[in-house]
């Protein structure tokens, strides 16, 4: 048992426990804060898998962006003193279908992917190779994703103006 095993189990525990509370706890502000810890735990697991750049982007976008925006949304749309901000269950059948399909994809990926084993290769920085791949091999897809995001941004702005 090396130090990396201990760190892995620590982050796995943080992710699983906080993810469990995100969906079970009744208060939506608590859910949002637990989501913060879930994203943090996932970032830690990315680091252990050797994906350093993905981990940092996870922290910047999810912890620093998405969760904060969610909290803003929750705090702006409800009275701060109200205890009535609750989560609930609805649309069980479509949700079950969606979750089932997603679970299928995840299981397939889990079985088919080639996981990095400890001690096979030293952890190397991935930023440079990732950047080269994004502007050469996946260049067009990268640009198209940018355009989709721009369209979403303009759509949101025009919806907000109405």
């Amino acid at each position: 048992m090396s130090i990396y095993d201990i760190i892995f189990y620590l982050f796995a525990a943080i992710t699983l426990i906080s993810a469990f509370f995100v969906v079970t706890i009744r208060n939506i502000v608590y859910s949002a804060f637990f989501l913060l810890f879930t994203f943090f735990g996932v970032a830690g697991i990315y680091v252990i898998l050797g994906a350093d750049f993905v981990a940092m982007v996870q922290l910047i976008i999810y912890v620093g962006g998405i969760v904060i925006l969610m909290l803003f949304g929750v705090m702006l749309t409800n009275k701060i003193t109200s205890v009535a901000i609750k989560t609930g269950t609805s649309q069980i059948v479509p949700a079950a279908i969606g979750v089932g399909m997603f679970a299928g994809i995840l299981t397939a990926t889990l079985v088919n992917s080639h996981w990095r084993k400890v001690d096979t290769a030293p952890l190397l920085p991935t930023t440079q190779s990732l950047g080269l791949m994004l502007i050469s091999e996946y260049g067009i897809i990268f640009e198209l994703l940018g355009i989709i995001l721009l369209i979403a941004l303009i759509g949101a702005a025009s919806l907000a103006r109405k």
Binding site: I6, G64, I80, T81, P125
Partner: protein
């Protein structure tokens, strides 16, 4: 790194266990900046802030505890330790207690990647510059948590303002850091510091190492980048003229209005740790990090063990210098309004940083 290896070998030779060695070395080298730098610095900086403000307003400031009042902060900390830990009935107890810890952890997280000297850097990660930006997300979350759980309109308003401000001013910060990444081709803070070795004309603010045409073309744009980065990091730590989140005259004390005792002290310590952290980032990016501007005494006398200590002193003094500049600005400038604050960020700093990014990109291609 040297310190980590030394601790690891020490524990390993005693216990013959790699895990024990790793854990001990990690814990001790993670706590080093806290006890060597953050706590003494916070004590010193709170006293300095009082003396600086006092002298700028033609007063004396604390004079009674110790010579020129230098023990005043120690006395204050002892007083804060004795205070009752008050949690009001309408506060959300759990989040109220976690928030100061999250804020302090977020600001201490930055210290993990700061290059203190060539012998000590908490974690020499390849993405140090990006990590430093990413870590501030926890501070924002902690501030929002404090504001919401306080269940107080002043706290919530302060927290909202603070979060909006930090998120907005992250954009010019990232844009300036991108220009540096473009020129140097590295995101590792240690490599960045090593690239600026030698004399002060090799610092990034003077166009980086080497003598070519592009170095001289860089200088004006580097100055613009430096000023932009300094302003936006100043806004990120909520200091005057950007202290609208805790504007005393309108919001009592912002997100820490409801806090007392040691929890208040943790917010205070996080603020001063943040002040040092952003100063250190600015100096690590533009002013050579731990590099001395004139060469080392250790090289002159042939004492090589002296060099890391000198580097640490240079790093700390560059950081403290910028902290003094922040204090000087705080007691000189009035506070911005909310709309002026947002206008400064979105209408001035971001366009300037974008144009700077494009121009520096063109020069790099040359």
């Amino acid at each position: 790194m040297i310190i980590y290896d030394f601790l690891y070998n020490l524990v390993f030779s005693i216990t013959q266990s790699a895990v024990a060695g790793d854990i001990t070395a990690m814990v001790i080298s993670a706590l080093l900046p806290l006890f060597i730098l953050v706590l003494p610095f916070a004590l010193l900086a709170v006293w300095l802030e009082r003396k600086v403000s006092a002298h700028m307003q033609d007063r004396l400031g604390p004079m009674r505890t110790g010579s020129h009042g230098w023990l005043q902060t120690v006395a204050d900390v002892i007083k804060l330790l004795q205070k009752e830990d008050i949690v009001a009935a309408a506060n959300d107890r759990t989040l109220f207690n976690i928030a100061p810890i999250l804020v302090f952890a977020g600001s201490y997280l930055v210290f993990a990647a700061l290059p203190f000297s060539s012998a000590y850097i908490g974690s020499n990660i390849d993405l140090g510059l990006i990590f430093i930006i990413a870590a501030s997300g926890f501070v924002v979350a902690g501030i929002l948590m404090a504001g919401w759980s306080s269940n107080n309109k002043y706290s919530l308003l302060g927290a909202m303002r603070s979060a909006a401000q930090i998120i907005s001013y992250e954009i010019p910060t990232i844009l300036v850091i991108l220009t540096i990444i473009m020129i140097t081709g590295t995101t590792n803070l240690r490599t960045l510091s090593e690239m600026q070795t030698g004399y002060f004309w090799n610092w990034m603010i003077f166009g980086g190492a080497g003598f070519s045409l592009s170095k001289f073309l860089f200088i004006p744009f580097m100055l613009i980048g430096f000023v932009t980065l300094f302003i936006s990091t100043l806004a990120e730590v909520n200091r005057t003229p950007f202290d609208i989140p805790e504007a005393e005259s309108e919001l009592v004390s912002g997100y820490h209005t409801e806090y007392s005792g040691m929890k208040f002290a943790m917010f205070f310590m996080a603020e001063y740790a943040n002040m040092f952290a952003v100063s250190a980032i600015v100096s690590a990016i533009f002013l050579g990090g731990y590099q001395s501007p004139f060469g080392y005494l250790g090289n002159t006398f042939g004492l090589h063990w002296l060099i890391p200590i000198e580097q640490f002193l240079w790093f700390a003094s560059k950081g403290v210098f910028f902290v003094l500049v922040q204090m000087w600005l705080r007691w000189t400038l009035p506070r911005l309004r909310v709309d002026q604050l947002m206008a400064l960020c979105w209408k001035y700093l971001i366009p300037i940083a974008f144009v700077n990014l494009i121009i520096i990109g063109l020069i790099t291609v040359l």
